[in-house]
Amino acid sequence: MSERRESVSSVSRRDFLRAAGMAGGAALLAACAPQATQVAAPTTEPNKADQPAAEPTKADQPAAPSGEQVTIAWWNQFVTPLCNELFPKIVADFEAKHPNIKVEFELTGGPPGGGDYIEVLMARIAAGNPPESITLWSPPSQFGARGALLAIDDLMASAELAKTGSFYESPIKSCMWKGKTYGLPASAGDGCIMINKGMFEAAGISSKREDFPTTWEGVKELAQKLTQVENNEVKVAGFVPWTQAWLKDVWSGLNGGQLFDADEVKYTINTDNNVELLEYWLSYLDDLYGGDYEKFNLIATWGDVYPGGAFNLGVEAMDMTGTWGCTDGEVPFDWEVVKFPVGPKGTKSLTGFWPNWWALPKGVTKPNEAWLFSEYMCTEGWVTWYVEGTMDIPAWKNAPRDAYTKLVEKKYGTERAKDLNKFFLDYLPDTVEMWTSPIEDFATDTYNQALDEVMHKVKSPAEALASAQEICEAKLQETLKSFE
């Protein structure tokens, strides 16, 4: 009797696990369902440029009614001590201008709660609950092509400040993919060569901007004069031109080349111009620095002008930076900025830019408020940042041309601050097209690998670039196919 009763009423492990599994599955589905509907829009055909975004992006859609408080979240990818000091002030200015919008932000350089910024951001976009406004240090073209960002062309068309055409051409092109705009460049931060005036004068060389050589050969000769070698050891390097990965497109452009053709959507890495560029860089290593790449790298940290780097320590006479180097570099000696030299196949001096981009992720619930904030931060807000904070020149063409960074003025005087502002503003229209590839990070890694192989003399420049071209083009085609 007891056996029968037990067999009737007992729940077997198998039954129980089956029920638990079903319950778990149901719970999981229930948890996923609302999010799935939120992401549904970008998951259909995310990259068709001719299709409007599914979210309410039209500028004619009204923002929240006046008086109704709307809170938006802003994630910022970078953090400096100045961010904590100045961004709250800029946000407060925005909130004063738009009293119904409150901006919640966290200036940690990462997402709220920690983790890798892009990793968490992508997960939030995929899950359908992204922050309303984001900054990026990788180009919006790359994310926009993948359907991660909202196209803002309609919003720009009727904007008060960030109208179509109100940004410098190359920086805004870095936000575009197939005719659609997926973000705004707040800064342009054009590049330059910074020289140590004391070293130049000690070597009997003019440190005036106008006297700086304008050709590759001229700069190499200058670097040779400034290089100091004792007992076969490099004590001071004149110039180490290959160190800044973000300027690779500029160097290519200086020799009439290009790495990625955004209009034709193809890589052009293994051209004669680019092979000649790597041979030029390699000639520095061989002719000036003893030819051993790893031994040379043990001397100092080459690249940029920041404290701790070779230039800042007086171990390198010239190095490259963006406009921000004038303030953030904290260079402890007298310096000057000059333009990049032109290669044998080039026609004019060109520069590059590395913006702080603003974008609206796909799936934002308050696109109009998010747009107003992003627009402000990339226009008037960034002018405040430029004047009160870092010398990171605005990409907004309507920024006052006579604005200059107070920190530069305080340190070097008004005339110098004005002169630097004018130098970079005048140079800005001469920027190469860059940051336009949908596989930007992959291509950068691949190009750097090719450069590493060339400098280690594992491959010749032609071999390395041919390999990089093949890899990047294959990846590009694979990626484009995935967009179809």
């Binding site: 007891s2 007992s10 778990g24 970008p42 998951t43 991660a148 992959f442 690998q449 995935s482």
Partner: protein
Amino acid sequence: MTASLQARPAGLKKPGFQMTRRTRESLTGYLFVMPWIISLLVFTAYPMLSSFFFSMTEYTILTPPNWIGFQNFDVMFSKDPLYWKSVANTVYYVVLSVPLGLGVGLGLALLLNQKIGGIGIYRTAFYLPGLVPAVASTLLWMVLLDPRLGLVNAGLKAIGLEPVGWLKSATWAKPALIVMALWGGSGSSMLIFLAALKEIPQSLTEAAMIDGANSWQRFWSVTVPLLSPTILFNLVMSIIGSFQIFASAFITGAGPLNSILMYMLHLYRYAFRYFNMGYASAMALVMFFVLVLFTLLVIRSSSYWVHYETSGRQ
């Protein structure tokens, strides 16, 4: 209880669902483990199964996955030039770091099993590196191994040796990672070895001494066989951990000529830098099967070298 139920008149029987005591106990047990089961299903089993599925798809996180069959595996094995580089780097790392880690852990445990004053301080000191987060310990070692300013090269110079490029050298970058792993990872294996050493009966060692065994013979014929189950455990865990090296490789980067581009770093880049989650899932699947294979091989081989005190050779 059964008797009382049998004695109860049919009319007084409680209505509804009746459970026996055994069923109730089982249910209670399941309820207690339910949080773990749910966590296993949601956070481990579901992602694992999803990963199996994604490995056969083109999946960019932001768009629905497209089924492409074994294409990711084809790319992995025949078209991705860095895949085999990452495999070679990881195998090199595993082959050197696993035996070295076990050797150092065992050596430290033997030293710290001595009856000397202040032994607790030494034990703590040697275990502490294992508590330092991987990111912090990697950053610390990057400073120590700095070619120009690092203490390690300063020490080499002090004894008349040439300084080494460490993480800036294609030749020395992998050994540098292994040194980092030894410093951070030996403490935990040492602790497990130490606990096992404490379990070895003194009588066996004394009996060997009476039989005339010298210290090496006592170690090799008494200590090692009795430690073998612990060695097996540490070996399996070390193999799994070494194949999955990530934090230090992520922070130091791929190194010159991709000399420290480890498998998991390559996988991570594809997943979160190049947004190719399908390919990354395929890489994860291959790693999973490799780990299963190695674990099975080690466990299968254990019948030849692991000694269990209670039942002789297993």
